[in-house]
Amino acid sequence: MDDSDPRPPPQGAAPHAPAGPWLRLRLRAARREAVPAAAFGLLGIVAAIGQAVCAARALQLALDGAGMGEAVGPLLGFAGLALLRAGLGVLFERAGFDAGAASRRRLRSEALGAMLAAGPALLRRHHSAELATVVVDRVEALEGLFARWLPAAMLALAGPVLVVLVVLWVDPIAAAILAAVGLLVPAAMGLAGLGAAAAARRQFTAMTRLQARFVDRVRGIATIVLAGHAEAEAQALGRAAHELRRRTLKVLSLAFLSSAAMDLAFAVGIVVLALRYAAGLADGSLVRPGDALLVLLLVPEFFAPLRGFAAAYQDRSHAGPAAEALAALPEPPPAPPALPVRNVAARGVAVAFEDVCLTWDASRGRALDGVSFRVPAGETLILTGPSGSGKSSVLEILLGFVRPESGRVTLNGADIATLVPAAQARLVAWIGQRPVLFASSIRDNIRFARPEASDAEVEEAARFARLDPVLATLPQGLDTPVGEGGYGLSGGQAQRVAIARAFLKNAPLLLLDEPTAHLDPATEAEVLDGLRRLALGRTVVLASHAAAAHAFSGRRLDLRDGRVQLGRGVA
């Protein structure tokens, strides 16, 4: 870690490549939403031109030695247009915000929808916090792109063209000069050897790298402190930052030339026009100083949209990494086949696996390798075997988290491949190793199983799961908040909430995945008691390598490396 060299990661050379098409598609979709902002911006420019006309007229009258009375018109016009322009400015910003909000809303729903569609299999590859960062922060980082950059990009051409058209009407030669210096901007940028785009991107990439290193070291601060490297790393961080500064300034010294090109264009415009008018007025070839003042007042308006575009360019740069993260999300899986939805009898479900194979990770071989079994309605199947033998995979197929590669899985004879996910979810209740409690009350957490359930039904479920003794000790009973920021329930208490959920759902097929793996023996016995009562009258598939297996009676199936072990049949 004493390495002070902020070397770029070797493969990080072309980080923007995959996000390109993704971003173009989203920008095209958002263009329509940016139109109101661009329209308000353009109207603002029109009002600004009007103001310049009024101001120039008033100044001309002043130079002519006219009094207040003659200039009332232009002055009132100036004031009125100022108010209008202020109002248009507010509308411009609000419309920009609305465009950004609409895009964020769309992208967030798209991202979360993709994750929900990919389902629990996603959690095998990504941590939930990392996924949440994509939905919350990465989408947020795209705000500027849609709210500011897109309208600014639309105005960058339209604004200056509008100004030149007005100048053309007053003084064609001045219009030609303005147009020429306007074209000087991109031309000078080209001469400087870089487009403003490339330079800004390089600066941004460098910043991102320092930021990434900093985030990385801060996240791992416990590791650094416990290894006794805190001071060494602080110094390395300082060296890296200063090295980065030296390098970045080298890049910036070129990049700022393109900003200087804009300044040059502005200065040339002002100086050339001022001298032209001074000379014209002095030798009498120009008789209306008002026109000269108008053109000079319009020069800043000519450059304002270009400046706005340059300023918004950093919003465009910020979009790169965010778009990359979003573009990397899994494509939603193909929609279930358009077969007629099978109606599986809700009471009493028989389960059958016929030669089912499944692979999670090709390098590890098959997780299930030709598994077959039948569970008649109302009976219990106990899957045993060491961790990694395929027990959870069987349950995940039944839950619809994953589809088998080959073989058939049927519920009451209907292939689950022909069931829509919602229909399949209605048939099964599931209790895993550690139930996730949502940041809400215990009541809402139970009701999660069936949102339309009445309070009485929720309370009955809580009683069934023997939650009453727990609730009695809690300040607000069923309404006690749990989950993030709430009251911390123990593993056994959380498992009882899961039992209450399953009871409330009242599905005919109960899937239990090592439900007591994280409990101490006393708690385990209590939870098992609840599970046995829940199992009455339902078809049950239980995966367990522990005592839980002995608490249930039923057919046993021993799995080893994804295969059914023969000769250890009915218990």
Binding site: M68, R219, L275
Partner: protein, 547 residues
């Protein structure tokens, strides 16, 4: 706002550079003002008959001002960015040091990675402080007397009007906007937290969501929270836009005042004044919308973490004992006074060189034991002895040098494999490649690394090589084995790994850690561990378990 001053005080060593940036920025601003003013004056004078300045002189003045402005603007950009990078580096190093010194408070030890990343976001929010707040404010402070002086020479009453309006646009409205953004950013932060929790709930609970067919409901919840966030942001954006519009109107009112005054005067200088007013107000137009209140809140959060009181160190530390036997002696501990006790009179002996497992359900305080041993937390009662000496009397770093720590929170850095391994060595020490390879060999990772084209210099993490979960954990093991620490503290080292990978890890550990004391903390055993004693943590005490 005092938080912002505290942050600025951190930049004292960089003050020279920052002042240089401000000075150049002011010079560039003056050149811009003079250019506009001179342009107005030239045309105005010419309209009146060119009596005041000869066209030749005007041309020279305009051309040199134009050139000066370009050069100064360029210099300003370079100088302010140089100062910005210096300030940015100083702020990050200061934050890192502060955080490291206070990591003993538990932050970062208990999986707080997301909280930390958000703090990094707060640091980024402070980057605007110099270029977007301090530099324009300095410009405004310069412009105020310039306006008063230049316009005062023409007419005092007009100068008063313009100066008051300018003060409103450059100071009054920005202050008001800062107050608004301070208030609203609190609301926005709350809405953000709500959205984040809803997303985390949905994604951590993907299994529950799918099993209960709740996709639509969860999506609706997240959308609802998002709507709340957007509403809060909308309210802030509208107010900021209004503040900006008010500042704009102040500028227009000033210009109107100049026009009204100019009527009937027939004075070319007034054309110049009109151009000056336009340029001056444009220079401060950014100020009402920089979100200073947001930066102030961020500064507050950063200071809270990195600037609090330092935990007291034992002075001077006792000499390190020769032996490495560990004894927990009647230890009581709770993470906070209002939280339940996690250790309740725990007594436990771990002889030197033994391999001990400590089992217990999650939340039983197993990780607390590691935190206490590593001096990340200290017991409220009881003692922890290392080689017979109370660790409270020993230096933090000395104790940690004895104990190599490996948990699911052990971080692999976006850096080379070599640099990641070097974290196992004492700071500043280097090891020859043969030692690194021996450690990788012991962790059963050498083959994987040897197959990489860049070997030990392969970059890990974002944009680099993605190690699998098991390989990552074994690299952390190699790092731990590379250290000479006689004690290995393994806190759920295999959490989140599948069974086969877990077995491989323990097989590597069994051989690689020969001769060292091993304290394994887990909620269950796989059967692959080689152990001398097994303890179970129950009701805050260690109970002997079978084994």
């Amino acid at each position: 706002m005092s938080a912002l001053f505290r942050i600025m005080a951190l930049w004292r060593p960089q003050a020279g550079w920052m002042v240089a940036g401000v000075v150049l920025s002011l010079a560039a601003l003056l050149a811009a003002l003079l250019l506009m003013t001179q342009a107005g004056f030239t045309v105005g004078a010419a309209a009146l008959g060119g009596a005041l300045v000869a066209p030749v002189g005007a041309a020279v003045a305009l051309r040199s001002l134009g050139a000066l402005r370009i050069v100064l603007r360029y210099g300003e950009r370079m100088a302010t960015h140089d100062a910005l990078f210096r300030a940015l580096a100083a702020l990050r190093v200061w934050f890192f040091r502060g955080l490291a010194a206070r990591a003993a408070g538990g932050l970062g030890f208990r999986r707080a990675g997301d909280v930390l990343s958000r703090l990094v976001g707060d640091i980024e929010a402070l980057d605007i402080l110099y270029i977007r707040i301090l530099v324009p404010l300095a410009g405004a402070a310069l412009l105020l007397p310039v306006l008063a002086w230049v316009i005062g020479a023409v007419d005092v009453a007009l100068a008063v009007v313009v100066v008051v309006l300018f003060a409103l646009a450059a100071f009054g409205l920005p202050l008001l906007a800062a107050r608004i953004s301070w208030r609203e950013s609190g609301r926005i932060a709350g809405a953000f937290a709500g959205l984040r929790i809803a997303c985390l709930d949905t994604l951590a609970g993907l299994r529950e969501v799918r099993a209960f067919g709740a996709e639509g409901r969860m999506l609706a919840t997240v959308q609802g929270r998002e709507a709340g966030l957007l509403a809060a942001q909308h309210s802030l954006a509208t107010r900021a836009a209004l503040a900006g519009a008010a500042a704009f109107l102040a500028g227009q009112a000033a210009l109107l005042a100049v026009l009204v005054f100019a009527l009937g005067q027939g004075n070319a200088a007034l054309v110049a004044v009109a151009f000056l007013v336009v340029a001056a107000f444009e220079a401060v137009a950014i100020l009402p919308r920089v979100g200073a209140g947001h930066a102030a809140r961020a500064a507050g959060r950063v200071l809270e973490v990195a600037d609090g009181p330092l935990p007291q160190a034992a002075m001077p530390p006792a000499p390190m004992p020769a032996g490495s036997a560990i004894r927990f002696d009647g230890v009581y501990f709770a993470w906070a006074a209002d939280r339940p006790k996690v250790l309740d009179g725990l007594t436990l002996d771990i002889p030197q060189g033994s391999r001990v497992a400590l089992l217990g359900p999650s939340g039983a305080g197993k990780s607390t034991l590691a935190a206490l041993l590593l001096k990340v937390a200290r017991p409220q009662e009881g003692r922890i002895l290392l080689g017979g000496t109370d660790i409270a009397a020993l230096g933090d770093d000395a104790v940690r040098a004895r104990c190599a720590w490996l948990s699911q929170a052990t971080h692999l850095f976006s850096d080379t494999i070599r640099a990641n391994l070097a974290l196992g060595l004492p700071p500043g020490a280097t090891a020859d490649d043969s030692r690194l390879w021996a450690a990788l060999e012991a962790a059963r990772l050498a083959e994987v690394v040897r197959a990489l084209p860049q070997g030990l210099d392969t970059w890990l993490g974002e944009g680099g090589l993605g190690l699998s979960g098991g390989q990552g954990r074994r690299l952390a093991l190699a790092r731990a084995l590379l250290s000479d620490a006689p004690i290995l503290v393994l806190d759920e080292p295999c959490a989140g790994l599948d069974a086969a990978t877990e077995r491989e890890f323990f097989q590597a550990l069994n051989e690689g850690a020969a001769g060292r004391t091993v304290l394994l903390i887990a909620h269950r055993l796989t059967g692959a561990e080689r152990l001398d004693r097994i303890w179970r943590l129950s009701a805050g005490r260690a109970v002997a378990a079978a084994g």
